[in-house]
Symmetry: C2
DNA sequence: CTCGGAAAGTTGGAGTTTCAACTAACTGCG
DNA sequence: CGCAGTTAGTTGAAACTCCAACTTTCCGAG
């Protein structure tokens, strides 16, 4: 016998789902309109910029951005065409490649970051009380843990 | 001067983002493996099944599922091909169409629902304390309100 | 050394989403 | 009435994602 959700649970669940969709849409739209970037582009730029030598192995980057290898590979194709990253062969492991941030990639990240942070603030951080926001973050962290995901 | 996020805020934000991605992936995968449905399919089936006469105007359905008209149109194409819905011309407004749930659509929804609810429980509802889950839902609701979204 | 399996990454095609352009029908104002 | 502007919905192409198959290289046991 299925244990259905009660009315309140149903509402929480749907709110969570709807908020995700609308927020993610909004962030993408903001980034897109202002700088022609997608969320995926942006996350890759961020990860690379935070890495030593502005570079990361394809697999590590895929894992960090919660993306499949295949998806990342196509994604890096596009970003390479756009001039934001370069592929550099890894000499230690000849199967491997690094995705390396270019100056152009850095520049667009620097240009886009303030506007992205702004929209995260406007739509989430500053909308909630600090307690509510922390609760949202902590609940998310618990859910991640339960799935065995690294919180990094 | 950009007001960056502090360390804790950064972590909450990233946790939220990661949890969304992983959870949504997981729900899709569960539905896909068990019944060959996508989340989008499932939500449409749910909405239609909850509507009078198992039918909804295309625009209303698009709005309810937070999808663009174009996306919904393609989506309904596929579901019509699969036999889960039908398009029925609207006689009042000759521009309009109803998406109507078929018996086959109802059947697959009935088959898929328990397994979907199960996975929502397993991955969210039963993972958190009732307080944490409520906090997640309420925060989401607040964010929706702030975006002017109807909580229905 | 060498061979089988695992890991890194890419590829192509099919499926999905987005965007802009389009048709057809409705609405209301002069 | 009659036509300008809106609304409903579709379409096709381009962008993106997913999946399965593939190549190359690495690793470890014998």
């Amino acid at each position: 016998m299925t244990q259905w959700l009660d009315e309140a649970q149903q509402q929480h669940w749907r709110a969570w789902l709807a908020a995700n969709t609308l927020l993610l849409d909004a962030f993408s739209r903001d980034l897109q309109e202002a700088h022609g970037l997608t969320m995926a582009d942006y996350e890759i730029l961020v990860r690379l910029s935070e890495s030593a030598d502005w570079r990361m192995r394809m697999s590590d980057l895929a894992e960090a951005t919660l993306s499949s290898r295949s998806r990342l590979s196509h994604q890096i194709d596009r970003m390479e065409r756009a001039g934001f990253v370069e592929r550099v062969a890894c000499t230690d492991d000849k199967r491997g490649y690094f995705a390396v941030l270019t100056d152009a990639g850095w520049d667009i990240l620097v240009a886009a970051a303030p506007c992205h942070v702004m929209s995260v603030r406007e739509r989430i951080v500053d909308v909630l009380t600090p307690e509510e926001f922390a609760a949202l973050g902590n609940a998310s962290k618990r859910l991640l843990d339960h799935m065995g995901a690294d919180p990094a």
